[in-house]
Every structure is written in structure tokens, then in C-alpha cells.
């Protein structure tokens, strides 16, 4: 009998997200096994228990998913998992805490595509504001945009926290090769005048850009908002918007809403889960891989 496909799903949280469970099962994993309240120090032993209990052939039908809510923790767990393995006892690992990596990838890829379509431009050199940018999606999207050459500023409610997150993004996720700045909500009115791209990744129900901001955003080209619950984070931007012009903006900026982004996110997560089934060699997947896949998806649907 052929060995079954097993996905070991690790989370630091009390429970897995049913979202990830459905996605994994629909991608073709036969068994999805939950491991909850997992601590970073336990990852090595768990991973070694995964790899030493199956033959090299069966390990190709085995993988690990890392969930949770914290990007740094998930990234560290991914590294720990990778380091706990050695050839031929290796399995694929995919980290997507809170779905943030695939959501960020979907958003940045969609923004890139709109920039290209409407303004014949790329992210390179663009002034970008990551509003509500201290959360998991904000962090991952800021890093992806910065790696694509944008001048990114993470905006939070408190400057010291925003600065701490910017440092984390630069040092940990960007490996010192990017230079994300920090700012606070109090200065949005100033920053927005020169912003060319805006990501809104704040908490649901909080308006980050009002009509006045939109009217004064003379350089704005694309604004994206991942909030699906009204009111949206950017006034006038609807969850269904997919490249529609934002009312009241002098520069003809276009908006991307949560459902347009969610559609790419969904396909991205599904493909990464499938990659772990299809790939002959083990793969270690995080936001950068999610972004590659999301770019392909956006290109193929153009």
C-alpha cells in the first residue's frame, strides 16, 4: 500500500486555524494532524519524531506546517525545523502564521500588477506607507515591498513600537539588506502627501486614511486594504475593489480591496501546500516563496 500523505500542523496557539485545515485537506493532504501550544524549544524534537518514523520514500509524503500568530516565532521555528533535519531524513516545511505570509504576498503582488497596468511603474524607488504595519501582515508586506526596492515606512500608533518592528523587519526578515523606516499615525497627514503606494493592514473597523488624506495624496498610485469588515481602512475603498479609481484622489490612484487580495492569497496558499506534495526535494517555504507564487498567479490571470 502506498504511504498516506501526512501534514503535521504545528501552532504556538491553543488551536489551529480551521482556514489552514481546510486549505491543507483540499490541497491533497490526507491527514492533517494538529499540535497545539507548541513551544519553540519543542520544535526540534517534534521534527525529529516526524522524520525518523518514515522511510526516505515515505518522507516525500510527509510535511510540516507552522501556524501561530507571530511572524518572528514562526520564522524561527521554520529555521529550527530545517536545522533539525539532514539528508535523506528531510521533509518540506511551510510557515504561514495567521495566514500573514500568503496574505502579504497576495497584496504586494496585486499592487505590483496595478502599478504596472495603470502607471507603467514598478515598486522600485516608490515611497510606500505601511499603515497599521506592525502586525503580521504589515511586517511581511513591508519586507516584500522593501526587497522589491520600495522606500517603506511602517506606521503604527506608537513610534517606539513601529521602530522596533522596522528594526525586526530589517535585521531578521531582510537580513540587513533593507532599510524600512518607522512613523506614527499622528504624522499620516504629512507622509501621505508624498506617498505613492499605501498598504492598510490595521485592525478591522479602524479608518486609517480619511477623505482629507485621499484628497492631499497627490503622488498616490495604488492603495491596498486587507480589511474585509466595514468601515474599510481607507475611505471610499470597498472590499470588492480590484483596480477601481479611488474617489476624490487628484492623482487617479486605484484601490485594491480585501476580496481581490484574498483571492490571490487563497490560490497562493493552496499552491504552496501542493508544492510540498509534488516536489521531489524538500522545500522550506515562507513569505518570499509565497511572493514568487503570488506573482505568477497575478501574471497568469492578467
Amino acid at each position: 500500500m502506498e504511504k498516506s500523505f501526512i501534514l503535521h500542523m504545528l501552532t504556538t496557539a491553543k488551536n489551529l486555524s480551521p482556514f489552514d485545515v481546510n486549505m491543507a485537506l483540499d490541497a491533497g493532504w490526507v491527514s492533517a494532524v494538529p499540535y497545539t501550544n507548541v513551544e519553540a524549544s519543542e520544535v526540534k524534537d517534534l521534527v525529529q519524531d516526524v522524520i525518523f518514523s518514515r522511510s526516505a520514500k515515505a518522507l516525500k509524503r510527509t510535511a510540516i506546517f507552522i501556524g501561530g500568530r507571530d511572524t518572528k516565532q514562526a520564522t524561527d521555528m521554520l529555521k529550527t525545523a530545517k536545522n533539525a533535519m539532514f539528508s535523506p531524513f528531510e521533509v518540506s516545511v511551510f510557515a504561514d502564521p495567521s495566514g500573514a505570509f500568503t496574505t502579504a504576498a497576495g497584496m504586494v503582488a496585486a499592487v505590483e500588477s496595478e502599478l504596472d497596468k495603470k502607471f507603467n511603474a514598478t515598486l522600485k524607488g516608490k515611497t510606500l506607507l505601511a499603515l497599521g504595519g506592525t502586525g503580521p501582515v504589515g511586517q511581511a508586506s513591508a519586507v516584500l515591498a522593501a526587497q522589491a526596492g520600495a522606500n517603506v515606512r511602517i506606521i503604527g500608533r506608537q513610534l517606539d513600537k513601529a521602530q522596533r518592528i522596522a528594526d525586526l523587519c530589517n535585521d531578521e526578515f531582510g537580513e540587513g539588506k533593507i532599510n524600512i523606516q518607522a512613523g506614527t499615525n499622528a504624522d499620516i497627514a504629512d507622509y501621505i502627501k508624498t506617498a505613492e503606494v499605501v498598504f492598510a493592514t490595521g485592525a478591522a473597523g479602524i479608518e486609517l486614511l480619511n477623505a482629507e488624506h485621499i484628497a492631499s495624496a497627490a503622488q498616490l498610485k495604488v492603495a491596498a486594504d486587507i480589511n474585509a469588515v466595514p468601515p474599510s481602512g481607507i475611505v471610499g475603498l470597498d472590499a470588492f475593489d480590484n483596480g477601481k479609481e479611488i474617489a476624490g484622489n487628484p492623482n487617479g490612484a486605484v484601490g485594491l480591496g480585501a476580496l481581490a487580495i484574498g483571492n490571490i492569497k487563497y490560490k497562493t496558499q493552496s499552491q504552496l501546500l501542493k508544492q510540498m506534495i509534488d516536489n521531489d526535494k524538500p522545500v522550506y517555504l515562507h513569505f518570499e516563496h509565497a511572493f514568487e507564487v503570488a506573482r505568477q498567479i497575478v501574471k497568469s490571470t492578467k
Binding site: V21, N22, L25
Partner: protein, 298 residues
């Protein structure tokens, strides 16, 4: 490939009940996913995560089960899950905390059948007592019997306040008309059962609640049902396999034992899970649907 059926099992306790897991797999769900220590506040987010990640065809193959030990919490969780959904993102939900809804439904349906067959009476003509009436099965039994029209009283063995509080809370939640009573000693029990026509026994396993001597005081008793399968039986004279046994005293009274009731409970839970699995439209199932299915089965 058709999408596999998934049952997400939300439970406020540290673990899901293996009873429910066996039942769900035997009904034909392809995949079960346990969620433990779930709080009421988490239900909204968990439910939305469950519905937003599958296509409309996948949604039909996705259901929620709500377990736990607390009937009120399970009902609140069911409401929270319903409120988190909207068309077309809707999936079926079955609540059966501690298996209490299906056990109580089976108990009341079995008693109702014997009442009709042996005494030509309806629940609405009868006074009913629920011993062990403040536990999950007891409360659910009381609510179902009360909503069916029986004049029903929840009996606690320690505290009148506990009994009255439970009656009041569930009258408010379920629009039932329960009362409360306390009976700890044999004297108190003898006095309380003098006018009862129905006795439900849902007390802890392995405890005899009504001895033969006490039971002799139940001059009006028509039917007694006991869900305790662990000896000694909760009501003296009723064996756990008895589907309809004539009690020694009072004359004419019928007893129903735990395994006879359990057999119906098992079929009811199976049927409800099957409805979640096969229904084209989402269904929301609690003690009410459990009782109407139990009535059909008996």
C-alpha cells in the same frame, strides 16, 4: 476529486469526547479536526476561518460540532457560530454537549412511548421529576419534557438554590416552565415523588437514587426512565437492558433502563450527524431536533 467532508469539532474542554469522535467517523465524515479549550469569544473567528477557506461546493462538505459539558455554553456557542455566517458561506452545526441533548431526547422519547402504549397518556397530562436534574443530561431532559407540556421539576440532591437557578436560567433560555426542588434524604425523596407520574433519573453513574422502599411512595407513577448504566441502577428494579419492565411497586408502573435508552440515543446522534453530512442546505441541530428525531426512531 470531490472535496472530502470535514467536521470541525469545537470543545471548551481540554479534550474532545472519544464517543463523539467514533460516532462522527462511523457516520462517514472523512476528516475530523479537534479544537480544544475553545472559548465562546473564539467561536466567531474559528467559524469564519472554517467557512472562508472552501468553495461553495466545499462548504457543503464542511460542518461544525459543538461539545463540552455545559448546555448553556453550547447553546451560546451555537448562536455565535450562526451569527458568524451569512449566505452562501453557511455550514451545518450540531451541538451535543456531553451527548446530553441526544441522551435526553432518547430518554424523553422512550418515556413518552411507554406512557402512550401502557397508560394512554401524553407528556402534557403528567407531572415529571428529574433526579440529577442540574447536570447536563438532567437539564436537557427537563427542558425537553417541559416544552412537550409536562409539568416538570428539576431535583438537586444538595441545594434548592442550585435547582431553582437552573430552572430559572433554562426557562429564560428555552421558554420552558421548569420548577426546582431539593431531595437528599429518603424521607425527602418519598415526599417529593408521591404525586409524580414520570420519574427521569439522570444522576451520576453508579449511585442508587431511588430504593425500592422509596419508590413504593410513588403512588401515581406511570413510567420511570434511568440513564445510569453502571450498577447499582439509579432506580431500584430497573435493569439497564430493560426496554419496558413492570415495576414491583407501584403496580402498573413501567421502567426503562440505560442501555435501552442508550440504543435510541446512539441512533439519534448518528441521524443528526448524517443530516449535517448529507443535507443540501445547512442545518442547525440542538436538543429540539434531537427530540423530534428520537420520537421518529422510537
Amino acid at each position: 476529486m470531490p472535496k472530502r467532508s470535514i467536521l470541525h469539532m469545537f470543545d471548551p474542554m481540554p479534550n474532545n469526547s472519544p464517543f463523539d469522535i467514533n460516532m462522527a467517523l462511523d457516520t462517514g465524515f472523512d476528516v475530523l479536526m479537534p479544537y480544544s479549550n475553545v472559548k465562546l469569544e473564539s467561536i466567531h473567528g474559528l467559524t469564519q476561518d472554517a467557512i472562508f477557506s472552501r468553495s461553495p461546493s466545499g462548504i457543503k462538505r464542511t460542518s461544525l460540532f459543538i461539545g463540552g459539558r455545559d448546555m448553556g455554553l453550547a447553546m451560546d456557542m451555537m448562536n455565535a457560530a450562526k451569527q458568524a455566517m451569512f449566505p452562501p458561506f453557511q455550514i451545518s452545526v450540531l451541538a451535543d454537549p456531553s451527548g446530553a441533548f441526544t441522551t435526553a431526547a432518547a430518554l424523553v422519547a422512550c418515556v413518552e412511548k411507554q406512557l402512550k402504549e401502557k397508560h394512554n397518556k401524553e407528556l402534557k397530562d403528567c407531572k415529571a421529576l428529574v433526579f440529577g436534574g442540574t447536570g447536563p443530561v438532567g437539564i436537557a431532559t427537563g427542558v425537553i419534557a417541559s416544552l412537550a407540556g409536562a409539568d416538570t421539576c428539576l431535583v438537586d440532591h444538595m441545594s434548592i438554590d442550585t435547582a431553582n437557578d437552573a430552572a430559572k436560567e433554562y426557562n429564560r433560555r428555552c421558554q420552558s416552565t421548569l420548577s426546582g426542588a431539593m431531595a437528599g434524604s429518603d424521607e425527602e425523596k418519598s415526599a417529593l415523588i408521591a404525586e409524580a407520574e414520570i420519574i427521569f433519573c439522570t444522576a451520576k453513574a453508579g449511585i442508587q437514587v431511588l430504593s425500592a422502599d422509596v419508590l413504593a411512595h410513588a403512588k401515581q407513577l406511570k413510567v420511570a426512565g434511568d440513564v445510569n448504566a453502571v450498577p447499582p441502577a439509579g432506580i431500584a428494579g430497573i435493569g439497564s437492558n430493560d426496554a419496558s419492565i413492570a415495576l414491583a411497586s407501584p403496580v402498573g408502573a413501567i421502567g426503562i433502563g440505560a442501555l435501552a435508552i442508550g440504543n435510541i440515543k446512539y441512533k439519534v446522534q448518528h441521524k443528526l450527524l448524517e443530516l449535517c453530512l448529507s443535507s443540501e442546505k445547512p442545518v442547525y441541530l440542538d436538543f429540539r431536533e434531537a427530540f423530534s428525531e428520537a420520537q421518529k426512531i422510537v
